[in-house]
């Protein structure tokens, strides 16, 4: 290691990065973590102190140029940031619009999840934690968590519903190869919702050595805010890239798929102070923002799919990463404000969109990301998007993981 300028022991180290302190929408939700009526910290008393510790550590880290510099370094040298902005030439021509793709599929491990996870893992290290806990649905967040843990020498325990363990055997194996322990969860629907519940139950038992690494802009304060901040890099990079690629500088529309909503939140955040119209695209079967009603789950208040008795219902989407019955609290708020719209597309539209993008641009998107593509196609073809409109779309991940699913359908 004698000849390496960049060393792990240099992490975190100061860098002269200016720290952006955003104001207005999509800024700091304050000590209560409130996005309008949403958000908050609805956790058992046993977890209140742990959440507070995470919040304190994050506030401290996020205002420390050293931490920001280390994270920027990891994102660049390990995760491959900045990711490209790809003009979807042929699809744009077919649709009569200008479609730009922010290529999170090119990030290490294949989706935007790594941005957040590297941030949280670095924070965990700073807090002296030696272990990461996480929930995962499709396995993308689990793989990212296992990756960050390996990189920083932490151990990782990932909770995953038994049904997902079966459906996503390859990702389970990837996590294990990366050294993570995968715990199958047999309760409830045996999918993401229950994996999250179980991870929170486990967290209570080990708050002193374990750090809970949440996979989306959900959970108790400070998670929705912190994860959005760690995903902000998507929007900020895209903002700069659009400024170069587009004559208008800012796109007319900013579109992303919404499961919990982290890739969308990170993207929107980069354009919060612009006139760009925000569109969050949900799965028809997991449309927390579009069809959910106010509720509390997993530590936060937001919109959730529920039955008439107030029991949470199961989400059902071809995209495992969108199989969550709720939506991040900030999305519920952006919807209340009218700052963002939330729309849904069907599984069939999603499969068509994925295949179309593959054939026009040579990019097979994750089925999650294909939701955003599907909406743009529908909206352009129906005239809802005016001809010539400029659209930035975050392609949150690559479709390799979905090949088996597609093979059964096509």
């Amino acid at each position: 290691m004698t000849d390496l300028r960049l060393r792990p022991r240099d992490l975190p180290r100061p860098r002269d990065l200016p720290i952006v302190r955003p104001a207005g929408t999509m800024s700091d939700p304050g000590p209560r973590g409130k996005f309008g009526d949403h958000g908050g910290r609805y956790v058992p008393e046993s977890l209140v102190a742990a959440c507070q510790e995470v919040e304190d550590a994050f506030r401290d880290a996020w205002s420390d140029p050293g931490f920001r510099g280390s994270l920027a370094t990891l994102l660049a040298v390990h995760a491959g940031r900045p990711t490209a902005l790809t003009p979807a030439w042929r699809l744009s021509a077919e649709l009569g619009i200008t479609l730009l793709l922010k290529r999170e599929d090119l990030a290490h491990t294949g989706s935007h999840k790594i941005n957040n996870v590297l941030g949280q893992a670095l924070l965990a290290t700073r807090m002296g934690r030696t272990r990461l806990l996480a929930e995962t649905g499709a396995g993308q967040h689990g793989v990212a968590t296992a990756t960050a843990a390996a990189l920083l020498g932490l151990s990782a325990t990932v909770f995953m519903g038994e049904r997902d363990v079966e459906r996503q055997a390859l990702n389970v194996f990837r996590m294990r190869v990366l050294g993570a322990e995968v715990v199958p969860v047999g309760t409830g629907s045996r999918t993401l919702k229950d994996a999250t519940s179980e991870a929170m139950r486990h967290w209570v038992t080990c708050v002193d050595d374990a750090y809970y690494c949440m996979g989306s802009v959900v959970g108790p304060h400070p998670y929705p805010w912190m994860v959005r901040e760690f995903q902000r890099v998507i929007g900020e990079e895209a903002r700069g890239q659009c400024a170069t690629e587009l004559r208008t500088g800012v796109p007319d529309y900013v579109v992303a798929c919404v499961g919990g909503g982290s890739n969308a939140a990170g993207t929107f955040a980069g354009f919060a102070d612009t006139a760009a119209q925000f569109v969050g695209v949900e799965a028809a079967g997991g449309a927390g923002a579009t069809e959910g009603r106010t509720g509390v789950l997993h530590g936060f208040r937001s919109r959730f799919l529920q039955d008439d008795d107030g029991q949470i219902t199961e989400a059902e989407s071809i995209a495992a990463g969108l199989d969550y019955p709720g939506v991040g609290p900030e999305h519920a708020y952006l919807r209340d404000l009218g700052r963002a719209r939330y729309v849904t597309v069907t599984d069939a539209e999603v499969v068509d969109a994925a295949l179309r993008l593959a054939r026009t641009e040579g990019i097979l998107p994750a089925l999650e990301s294909a939701h955003a593509v599907a909406w743009v196609i529908r909206a352009a073809e129906s005239g809802e998007l005016p001809p010539g409109a400029t659209v930035l779309l975050t392609l949150s991940g690559r479709g390799d993981k979905d090949t088996a699913t597609l093979m059964e359908l096509v």
Binding site: G188, V207, Q306
Partner: protein
């Protein structure tokens, strides 16, 4: 001071260790019979679980119980209807998660508790900071909102919880979920001790208390105990109201013996 707290204080002042057994509402067709058995065995109050699809503070047993009850069609409405008009002679405390409180709104929810004759409320995922609205609604309805304290709660915050809690303070004995444990944790005694020092409100210790011995040990510092998973495990395994009654009676006896060893 609400009826629940008045009742618990009176019993405590009478030198009695408090016993609050728990039942997941609508767990069986004859679930109300369990409540009667609880009273006969010497319960001082009864905690009724209003089952939620995603009980994040509950271990495997109460998760299973919630699941069974929901599969049988349990709902807040149906359980409260089942409680209505029961004359058990001890106060009832509903226990649930915030999503169900929010469903018709805290006011309607607390009003419904009142109507059903429920005097207290526990919301597992409603810490101090988020409690205002429910606190107000509960107070308006004359329902005591009992807050939880945990081994992770720092002392100044413990005081605030004790101050704002109504009915009693629920001392969570350990860092974990509900469920039977082999022994009472050290943190249980520490927490109960801290709480009893900072408040004269009844302090009930819960989570993991499974045997008469553990219960007896618990009330050396706390005012009483909550017994949940140990009961539900038996019921899920087929125990009748009489069986559970016998189990609780033994616990009652251990508590009484602990308080008055001589007699």
């Amino acid at each position: 001071m609400g009826l629940l707290e008045i009742h618990l204080r009176q019993r405590r002042e009478a030198g009695r260790a408090l016993l609050m057994p728990y039942l997941t509402g609508a767990i069986t067709g004859d679930w109300v019979d369990y409540l009667r058995a609880f009273v006969d065995a010497g319960a001082d109050a009864i905690e009724i679980g209003l089952p939620f699809s995603d009980p994040t503070l509950d271990g495997a047993t109460i998760q299973e119980a919630s699941h069974v009850a929901l599969s049988r069609g349990a709902s807040v409405r149906a359980i409260l209807a089942g409680l209505s008009g029961l004359e058990l002679g001890v106060p009832l405390v509903a226990s649930t998660y915030q999503n169900l409180v929010l469903h018709d709104g805290p006011e309607a929810f607390c009003g419904a508790l009142r109507t059903a004759g429920v005097d207290g409320l526990i919301v597992a995922d409603l810490p101090l900071e988020e409690a205002d609205e429910v606190e107000q609604a509960a107070a308006d309805a004359g329902v005591d909102l009992a807050l939880l304290a945990s081994p992770a709660t720092p002392p100044p915050r413990l005081a605030a919880i004790a101050r704002r809690s109504r009915g009693f303070v629920y001392a969570v004995s350990l860092m974990g979920t509900t469920g039977e444990r082999a022994a009472l944790s050290a943190s249980a005694t520490t927490l109960a001790g801290q709480l009893c020092e900072s408040t004269d409100r009844p302090v009930l210790l819960g989570f993991g208390i499974s045997t008469p011995d553990q219960a007896a040990q618990a009330i050396r510092t706390a005012d009483g105990v909550v017994v949940g998973a140990a009961i539900m495990r038996r019921i899920l395994d087929g125990a009748s109201p009489a069986d559970v009654g016998a189990y609780l009676a033994a616990m009652r006896q251990a508590l009484d013996q602990e308080r008055e060893p001589a007699s």
